[in-house]
Symmetry: C2
């Protein structure tokens, strides 16, 4: 008897030591995992796992590599996590304004 589970790996750098197969409708699957590799020891990848998605963190990434990743992923479903500076309008001073975001920086305007 088998069951299917969905799981998230650790978020770490250096995901080496595995190969994939498949593509298209079929999906992408882990083909081979080298013993003692980061893929095995850190990410706990197993042969036969289906790769549903990969979240790539852009901290300390080379411009060229970020560009390539964005270019290759363009045809596919993607979700970005963003940090945005927003100008807080005067209304925020109003006692009725409800702001749940934490104010983390303050700049004179």
């Amino acid at each position: 008897e088998t069951m299917e589970v969905t799981l998230k790996t650790e978020a770490e750098a250096g995901a080496s030591g595995f190969s994939v197969k498949g593509g298209g409708n079929e999906g992408i699957f882990i083909k081979k995992v080298l013993k003692e590799s980061p893929a095995s020891k850190i990410f706990s990848l197993r042969e036969g796992d289906q790769l549903l998605s990969a979240t790539i963190f852009f901290d300390n990434i080379k411009y060229e590599d970020a560009l390539k990743i964005l270019q290759y992923s363009e045809p596919y479903r993607v979700q970005f996590s963003l940090k945005r500076k927003i100008v807080v309008q005067e209304e925020i001073e109003h006692p009725t304004a409800q702001y749940k975001k934490e104010r983390i920086s303050q700049v004179d305007i």
Copy 2:
């Protein structure tokens, strides 16, 4: 007065119409967003946004593109979402076994 917020975009295909700058310690930032492009209309990207991460979904992805994305992201922090078939041991039948995962398929063994 400004504040910083972290936000997630829609998860959609076809994130075109924007360019990035930066890299390394500095981080990756949105440099330019074309008006009326998917980057603007679907993903709501704005110039100056910092790209913290991108989650790429591997449904219907070409093998070669998945490979490139995995290769380019290897040096950087990455987190995978996986689907795994697990064999359910006899112990699951035991009334004391606690399994929170939903059983979604059943196969004779």
